[in-house]
Symmetry: C2
Subunit: 344 residues, 2 copies
């Protein structure tokens, strides 16, 4: 008799946020095998109703004893909530895939992009971290190029969408745009930056040496995911007035000389990566919003430096960068029997 697929008791921590809702959408699309579903959030969202597979669920308060009999938590409630509640999930023997930055750089926590370093899941101690969205979409092409010819140096400039800053920023972009078109002025005050028809050259707080936390995440998380602790990489992270979809201008120096054809073929060999190789049909945020793959285009030699290539990487930051990657990780955990769940 064939072993039945296990069905698991799943909790979503931060269920009502941008990514929380996207978790439900992606889980349903991919027919993830859910037995019981708990939707957990903070006080202000308790009692809200959300649908999953035709059934309505009521949001409950996320608290220390929320994890009894839960096999898996998909968490996206911010670093503070994760730091507070994840230890209680672990005590309840619950595996947590955490979308926050709380545990990403901890030694015992695998930081995983599905299809890039799934092997790291084997060593998990209960927490698996989902990287920052900006890092996540960069990893499939960099992994492919590293396998082909060795990464020597990477320079990234980003064009990040409002949705990366949460639902407030998306609403703010709409609001500011309308106000600016009608009055030529910025009246909104929810975020302290002029956002519509502008480019904001910093994301998240500043740290030492003038970098932002967002830029440091791209640098450190890339090194950890690729298993290259000394990877030479720098980043400039910039917000643009786009709703969904991060774009990245990437300059990659390789160790070895390869042809353009080899690069295209290698990228096409990566799962969930699409090369758009007609330059006029280069990937654009507006077209890829809502789609699963990472899109790479404008692959061209940087003739000013040996073995160096420019490319343009676009993905839906809410999917590859958050919900989709977490669900893919959960699928692998199930498939590889890395969640302790009974077959029912």
């Amino acid at each position: 008799m064939e072993k039945q697929n296990p069905k698991i008791n799943l909790a979503i921590l931060g269920a009502t946020g941008n990514v929380g809702r996207k978790f439900l959408e992606v889980l349903e699309e991919r027919d993830f095998p859910v037995n019981n579903l708990s939707l957990l959030a903070s006080e202000k969202s308790v009692g809200k109703k959300l649908k999953f597979k035709e059934k309505e669920y009521t949001v409950e308060l996320a608290k220390k004893d929320s994890f009894k009999d839960i096999n898996l938590v998909l968490a996206s409630a911010g670093a503070k909530v994760s730091k507070e509640l994840v230890p209680y999930a672990l005590k309840a023997h619950t595996v947590v895939v955490d979308n926050s930055s709380a545990y990403r750089m901890e030694k015992d926590v695998p930081l995983v992009v599905a299809g890039v370093n799934d092997k790291d899941l084997k060593n998990h101690k209960g927490i698996i971290a989902n990287p920052n969205c900006t890092t996540a979409q960069l990893m499939p092409p960099l992994k492919a190029l590293h396998s082909l010819a060795g990464l020597k140096r990477v320079i990234v400039s980003t064009y990040q969408s409002a949705s990366g800053a949460g639902k407030t920023a998306v609403d703010e972009l709409t609001q500011q745009t309308k106000e600016y078109l009608s009055s030529g002025k910025y009246n909104s005050k929810a975020i302290n930056r002029k956002f519509a028809f502008n480019v904001v050259p910093h994301i998240d707080d500043f740290v030492e040496d003038g970098y932002t936390k967002e830029e440091v995440k791209v640098i450190n998380e890339s090194r950890k995911i690729l298993g290259l602790p000394n990877l030479r990489i720098t980043c400039t992270a910039v917000r643009v007035p786009v709703f969904i979809g991060h774009s990245e201008s990437v300059n990659v120096e390789l160790e070895k000389s390869v042809t353009r054809e080899q690069i295209v073929r290698t990228l096409r060999g990566m799962p969930n990566l699409i090369v758009m190789d007609d330059p006029v049909e280069s990937p654009m945020a507006i077209d890829i919003a809502g789609k699963d793959p990472v899109y790479v285009g404008r692959i061209r030699e940087d003739k000013s430096n040996p073995n160096t290539w420019n490319m343009w990487v676009v993905a839906d930051n809410l999917r590859i960068g958050a919900a989709l990657n977490a669900v893919r990780i959960a699928e692998t955990l199930l498939k590889e029997d890395l969640i302790k769940v009974p077959a029912i």
Copy 2:
């Protein structure tokens, strides 16, 4: 007796375009010494009225014999018109400052950014070319850094505004934005790209090797202006939904080791360049539109490579990138007695 300031007979070629109108604004602001003013344009603009210093001028047809008794032409009517008409201006002994790409890379034509390579004006043969806007704003910081420590390699990713693509693109951005906000769809057809709430990773046509003309201009024009024919430089040119103001993420490798303080001090020593050194107050397109200087911020060491620095360069592309630079060049030509005009 002191020599009086010469007043010159000035023609604007392409007077009704985005840059043509900006010429008049800048000439008036700077009280440029104009004797007679001719506004020249194509058939469809003939008869339009434009104001300069309280006086109304009527647009005339630009033709071969438009340049009699004209001392100086400021041209911004596109490469095709410049190629057709500039030779007749030269025959009439008229000096032309040309904003088009028609003559930029010709050996005998100085390509000048005011304050960067004014010395090249001395050798002009009647035509002085104004660089592409994207190149123009990059030159003051690169010139300063080259003088300080030698440029070794430059990697630029741009965030270019709609106005760089002309008045049609600006109108299209407004129109598309309104349509998208009301219907979630793109209905406009004036340009064949989705522009609002999107990032378009190519500007102008494609040339060999997958680069765009815009990117090739940045590479070739930078080399010519800086007098560094072998400068190692690459560019990815990207359009963002901003009305006015180009932003550039620039990674610069220097020959010599210098401190951050030396870099900031050197940049501050450049004319028309402002360093905004508080990272939270980094330069943004929306704030610098309508202003004259080039703004540099987010200066930070790229620790992944020796002697390498990241920075963020923003300027009003219609001013430093076009009208203002042309007028500054004209002022220098007058001051250095490089236009043959009688003092009146």
